[in-house]
């Protein structure tokens, strides 16, 4: 049996099983799916990947009251915090980990930085919307996408572009 393992929980559609001679029933498919889910879950528990939820919790703790930046910043709400957690869960494991940044608008941003002039940011504010912006040397992009637990392909492509 051949398997293509998705690198992310957001990419389950690319997961496939292909029987080669042997009969595959629903039970064995379910077992395989469960095994892979367990592997991904274990990977997300790794030291490196645990850094993100910890960092997010710290940002939320520091910025959940108004004026946390001294300039009248809006507080980060629990809705925004929960949505940021969904972003972390949707991140492909194969991608570099971002820095988590609190924005004065009350949004939480995820920042990937390759070097000077090469940076990509995506942020959420608890409204099922992702706002993104990127600098790729002399080129730039910005826009927004609907977000509901699955990372939009546009966003994935831009992050890949940053590290290509």
């Amino acid at each position: 049996m051949n398997m293509a393992v998705a690198s992310s929980s957001s990419n389950w559609s690319s997961f496939s099983t292909r029987p080669s001679g042997e009969r595959t029933d629903h039970y064995s498919s379910w077992k395989i799916s469960e095994s892979i889910t367990n592997v991904i879950s274990q990977m997300r528990q790794s030291e490196t990947f645990r850094r993100l939820p910890n960092s997010l919790s710290e940002v939320y703790r520091e910025c959940s009251r108004a004026d946390w930046d001294g300039y009248g910043a809006l507080a980060i709400t629990s809705n925004t915090y929960q949505e940021a957690r969904s972003v972390i869960n949707a991140l492909p494991l194969s991608m570099p980990l971002p820095d988590i940044v609190a924005e004065p608008t009350g949004e939480i941003g995820f920042e990937w930085r390759k070097g000077k002039g090469y940076i990509f940011v995506v942020s959420v504010g608890g409204k099922y919307q992702m706002t993104y912006a990127g600098l790729f040397g002399g080129n730039s992009v910005h826009g927004s996408e609907y977000f509901d637990r699955t990372l939009p392909q546009t966003v994935i492509q831009h992050i890949r572009r940053l590290y290509s």
Partner: protein, 121 residues
Amino acid sequence: MQADATETLARYIYSKNHYKASDRTVKYAAFVPQKDNNRLSVFRISGLEENKIWEIAKDLRAQPLLARADIKATSVFEASLAIERDDTPPGHANIVDWPEEDSDIKLKAMALAERATLLMR
């Protein structure tokens, strides 16, 4: 009144979330303007002594001053933004003319942060 392109501006930082000490970079969020008035508060610091520059912001906010991001006025103009001097308090100005779209604001804030120099308190 506008500022001169050769001037240096300081954006004072009161949140440790807005810079990264390990690689001495300024986070874009330090340059995102306030949502209610779309202005970014800065100070014109050209010609001032270093200790005076820190002195300006020491008691301005309730939070302790942690760092500052210095940026040339010309970088602001290159981002198609403007600087409006109000000198209240003396030396104060606002970076204005931000676009309406949130993602576009973010992009300009990133461009400013990339050109800024981080100085730790």
